[in-house]
Amino acid sequence: MLKRIGFTRNDLILVAALLVFAAFGAWRGVNIGVSSAVAEKVIIRVNGEVLTELPLDEDRELGVTGYDGGFNVVTITNREVYIREADCPDLLCVKHAPASERGELIVCLPHRIAVELE
C-alpha cells in the first residue's frame, strides 16, 4: 500500500532512523524523571533570569512583562498553572494545556517568558 503512494525503501529507512533517535530521547527523558512527580512551586523566568517563584497551592494571577514589553497573565488555580492572556500574535502559550506536573514548562517565545514547575 505504501509503495502505491510512492513511499520507497529509502524513505522507510529515514523514518526508522528518526524514530530510533526519537525513542532514544524519550527513553532518556523518562530516566531523568521529567514528569509524574508532584510539583510545588512555579518559577517564572524572563529572558533566562528568574523573575519570581510562587507556590503552586495558592491561587493567584500575575501580570508578567516580558522582553520587548510584551505582556502575559499567568494564572495559578487548583494546583494548575496556565497563561490566561498574552498580547503576542500567535498565542501559542495561551493554547498550551494547563501544567501541573514537576518539570513541565510553558513558554512564550516572542516575549521570552518561561513558566516552569518544580
Binding site: I5, F7, A22, A23, G25, D68, C88, P89, K95
Partner: protein, 168 residues
C-alpha cells in the same frame, strides 16, 4: 512555460501559501502540551514547486522565493518580528535539507517532505532553546520528530496528488 506565465503562477502559489498558513493558525494545536506543533500546510506549495521541473525553468530558485515571500508576508501580516525570525529560520533550514535530499536522488517526494518537516521542527526547537536560554526545551525533541514525520508524510502525499493533477 514563458516568464509572464511563471510569474503569474508564482503569485498564485504565494497567495495559496498565505491562505493555507492563515487557515492553519485557526486550527487547534494537535498536541496541547506542545502548542508549537502544526501541520505545515503552508509548506505544501513549496514542496510542489520543488518538483515542478516541467513548468518552472529553475524550480529551486522559484521554491526558495516562494518560501521566503510566504514567511515574510505571513509574518508581517499575522504575527510580529520575532515570530517571523523564528519562522524564517525554520523555513530556511527545512528548505535546504529538502533541497539536499532531493538532489541526492535517494528519497521520494514523500521522504523529502518528511525530512523537511522534521528538520523544520528541530531547527525551531534549537532556536527557541537558544533564544530563551532554556536548554530543557530540547528534551521535547522526540515529540517534534514524530510530529515532523507525520506532518511531512501528509504534506508529501498531498503534494504528490496535486503534482499529478497539475502536470498531467
Amino acid at each position: 512555460m514563458n516568464r509572464t506565465k511563471s510569474l503569474a503562477e508564482m503569485g498564485l502559489l504565494i497567495a495559496v501559501a498565505l491562505v493555507l498558513s492563515r487557515i492553519e493558525s485557526f486550527l487547534p494545536p494537535p498536541v496541547p502540551s506542545v502548542p508549537g506543533i502544526k501541520l505545515g500546510l503552508a509548506n505544501l506549495p513549496t514542496v510542489i514547486l520543488l518538483y515542478d521541473e516541467r513548468r518552472f525553468p529553475r524550480p529551486y530558485i522559484s521554491a526558495i522565493t516562494l518560501s521566503v515571500s510566504r514567511v515574510l508576508l505571513a509574518g508581517f501580516m499575522f504575527s510580529g518580528l520575532w515570530s517571523t525570525i523564528y519562522a524564517l529560520s525554520g523555513a530556511a533550514v527545512s528548505f535546504f535539507i529538502m533541497l539536499l535530499c532531493k538532489l541526492s536522488k535517494k528519497l521520494s517526494l514523500i521522504g523529502v517532505s518528511i525530512a523537511g518537516g522534521t528538520s523544520h521542527n528541530l531547527a525551531q526547537l534549537a532556536i527557541a532553546a537558544f533564544v530563551m536560554a532554556e536548554p530543557r526545551l530540547l528534551s521535547l525533541y522526540p515529540v517534534l520528530i514524530i510530529s515532523g514525520i507525520a506532518a511531512g508524510f501528509l504534506v508529501g502525499i498531498t503534494a504528490r496528488l496535486v503534482d499529478r493533477i497539475l502536470c498531467s
